[in-house]
Symmetry: D2
Subunit: 327 residues, 4 copies
């Protein structure tokens, strides 16, 4: 590969009430607040020594400013930048010093219209993995993946796998062999990013890794005791696809967060991607539970990296389906 | 109290296919099979040294033959028998030797029409609590409680609390202070029996105790991997009422089983029963999840202890309600 | 039985530094502080609605003022008082108002010299069982048992079983059939009190119930991260005897606390006490781990209920043994 | 890097009694038996789709035939072979067909005298990750790492890091800044291989990954119930170094197995290796527990890849130390 993308690394979300967000992310979910001011909340998981993996910015409307990947070296970053230029996707440098805590980066709208960012360096802070006395709520460990709704999954798949060097771990096909959804990774677990067929481009959710299942159960209890029962959208359950134990939450602005633990190692180049039929009832929830309609319909709008305007949401290429069991 | 009932002790269920039942209870849920023949399957939990806590009998139609309580002494048993005679409820002795593995017992239709049995002695067998090498599936530990749908909860409550000496741990009231459901115990945890307003008399479910939450999660995984995903009716979740972590299953005949763990000690006579409003969303599932319609509507029919015929199901006294959140 | 003792209910310990105690019990172990002043710290578990189950009093030297049982009614309390008088054990009333938060009580040195207290009423407070947002550390749920070293276990056994109405769940015998240790209960789990052969009378430890094994593992992590690694004396492990998952800690004054979860129901009068051979390696720790010497040798001294002086510690009747595996 | 080693992949151990081994690995630990004959036992974890990760061969004496790494491509394998030749370490090809289930490989004694193997291809089999009905014992998921005792850790470190392209996650230094132990990885968790100062070359243990802490606790219970309590050498506990929850076992031939779960992601090139002082009591067991002498002294002897003879064990370069807390 010409460029070495390491992993999904941070998301920048716009939210309307930072106090509400802080209560939700810090007190209920157990994120660590690295820094906060009137307009920013920098959050990280307990094992993260990078400054943040989730940056919330105060805004009038909730939206997704960017989802961001860490790249191996400055040379990789340059090469990636030139790749996007060559693809005429119009990448845009953000020089060091322009963003708090991270080095030189560039942003670009990807082939599906999703706002991406790539960077090499971020300030480091103390890792709190063994400060068990500070653990609370879901005990969030680290960022794990992005899940995006796009109008053409096959196109996104081709771009990420053939051009950017992602590998596919699992995928869903329709009855007529159309690619409905795909789970793609750079770091060797199930995904750094997944694409699902739907109105897009939108961010469906950000997944955060937990150390174990009981932290996830405890998160439900804590959320309910704090009055956040209605924030629990789906789960807890076991995914058939990925085998992870999961919980989907909606933050105070409606951004969807997945608590996620227990997938598997995908380090080997001879790993054969696992195919799921779109109608397999165990694909979504191995135990057979159906997801609520909101989980299929709702997702976060994304912004244009150049003009900061909302990117128009379009109908998907494949006809929207939601038979008995569908992503 | 004139008679000392110790605890809920066994249920006798009629089922249509003992092989299907055995696969479900033994392989998927981890019950121990004490004995089995062409017409009977005697099951117990891992900590139980009594011969069985669940007896399945082959029959044409699924039904509940009896739910059964262990009584402290023969004197208590005699006194209870005479109490029921005095109440003109027509109890019926079953002498020792007439039932396999248990001593002298009597059966009677209670004030709600539920088929009860009381006994003192049951054969004992090896307790397998520390045979961890035999643990499988849900690792069921012991029987915990019966939950019954009756047409008049207040009447059942009065009978069990004032006459039989049960104590109330928690209860649900309607907006106009009618008793909608009640959790009653003899052994000091939340219940040996619960009564819910509904078409009755019917057995809603039998609860079995697990040692921990992860055994319950594992049970879901095992059930799904064996093709029993559709047997998972509700949960896993946390009850507001009782605080237990729960899972509701339907066995191959539709009998409902609850896997249950983590309620609390109710040993003290000054414990004040906890009141829940019927519309409190956290009452059923603390996390806010709604139960499916089947959970409200369906339950097992019961038999008459004298003629073995199905007891007629009647409409409840309180108007059937299922607002946003209802038992 | 002439008197109905319900359960072990509270301990009153003397400690030298209430700030150190509070840090240990509240922050590391997750006890709830009901009240505190310069000389007292009132602690309870998350499911307890009684004012406290552990009272720490500031003193020059660590010691045990009293271990205390809740009794069913004032009539039971009177009858118990007269029983002890009749035994010439010189019980002493403490009238309501003389102790904060509890009603009329009496204290007495038992047959082994242990300082006991019996009471009926204690002030009630809000139960925090479902305030999961307040859970921390070991998430202590409730008091479970006392474990005492006495010089003559057979004598203590006879007194508690034959006179006070306790039942025996498990016991340890020497090779020559001498009773080495016994686990006795009123509430139906393995014990409210255990007696072990040793220098006595001394309090070996107080057991507190946790909801699950992972809370206990997390407690180890939290203790270590707060600098309390040296407070972990033994475990985590599985007891052969009782089947409980356990951890032994030493508080800042050396009082020993057991975190304990997962024993079994002992409600039935026909339960046959389980016999363990003193040399069975799985008795103490089912996994075969040996306990450290301190666990055998050290225990808290107790006070005289009349003169507040230390009760003299005497050599045990049975010769002290610690072969490969011994309590 | 000139060659891309993916991860530690299998070990070939010699054992004296395959029936005893099978009982231990399959029934107690929950390994899957892919194939077995009179002289071989091929074992894998529940998520592994490669034919085996542990091959046991019947022999007169227990020993380690080889520890083996999976390499990205045939080109990488060739390049590695030539690298070892150039280093005059005398690698030896084993052509496809000579070993069951794996493709062309080469073997070589590394710089410390450890018998290594490198290969690209192994036969694939059904992954049983979601066959929860087959889970038993420790529910072993996959191979995680090798831990080796070598006489010169600095030399091994330099060879693996500078020549083979491993990265260091954590290390232990003596007071005078000598490298005492190092944890090195190719896949991005804490290690594929660790080197500890000691008599060598010897294999100290093989680590296998579990999905969660309670599977490890359950493993202790199952081992004890099957009579394997004496196989539990150390733990369960939390490592300070790596943060993993661990258990050390000795198999029927004395080979040491670690059950291991819960370390962290080490994907980033800017990750700074964590330094531990050899005398830090939390390094080995975060909770402060000491390891038994056997853990420091005993390890498996290794064979020469050319003549199949035992490789002579030599004294370490750094003086053997075992103060209060030492690896």
């Amino acid at each position: 590969m010409k460029f070495n993308i390491i992993r999904c690394a941070r998301a920048v979300l716009r939210v309307t009430d930072l106090n509400a967000s802080r209560d939700f992310y810090e007190r209920a979910l157990g994120f660590v607040v690295t820094e906060a001011d009137n307009n920013h909340l920098y959050l990280r998981g307990l094992e993260e020594y990078h400054h943040h993996s989730l940056l919330l910015k105060k805004a009038e409307q909730p939206s997704v400013e960017v989802i961001s990947y860490k790249v191996h070296s400055e040379e990789d970053l340059e090469a990636l930048y030139h790749f996007f230029r060559q693809k005429q996707l119009n990448p845009k440098w953000i020089e060091e010093g322009q963003q708090h805590a991270i080095g030189r980066a560039f942003r670009v709208q990807d082939i599906s219209g999703l706002p991406l960012e790539f960077f090499v360096k971020m300030d480091t802070v103390e890792r709190l993995l063994q400060r068990y006395d500070l653990y609370r709520g879901a005990r969030v460990q680290r960022i794990d993946h992005f899940n995006c709704m796009v109008t053409d999954v096959q196109k996104a798949y081709d771009f990420y796998v053939k051009e950017l060097g992602f590998a596919c771990s699992e995928y869903t096909e329709t009855e007529d062999k159309q690619l409905w959804a795909a789970w793609l990774h750079r770091k060797p677990n199930v995904h750094d990013v997944a694409f699902m067929n739907g109105k897009g481009p939108r961010l469906h959710h950000i997944g955060f890794w937990l150390s174990d299942q009981l932290s996830l159960i405890h998160a439900c209890d804590v959320l309910a005791s704090m009055g956040y029962a209605s924030s629990i959208e789906r789960g807890p359950g076991r995914h058939g696809l990925s085998n992870a134990f999961f919980l989907y939450l909606r933050d105070p602005d409606g951004h969807r967060i997945e608590l996620y633990t227990g997938d598997y190692l995908t380090s080997d180049p001879d790993f054969q991607p696992i195919r799921w039929d779109i109608n397999d009832p165990r694909r979504q929830t191995f135990w057979g539970h159906q997801a609520p309609d909101s989980w299929f319909e709702e997702a976060s709008i994304v912004l244009d990296v150049h003009d900061d305007k909302t990117v128009e949401v379009k109908e998907p290429t494949l006809q929207k389906m939601k038979p008995t069991f569908i992503i």
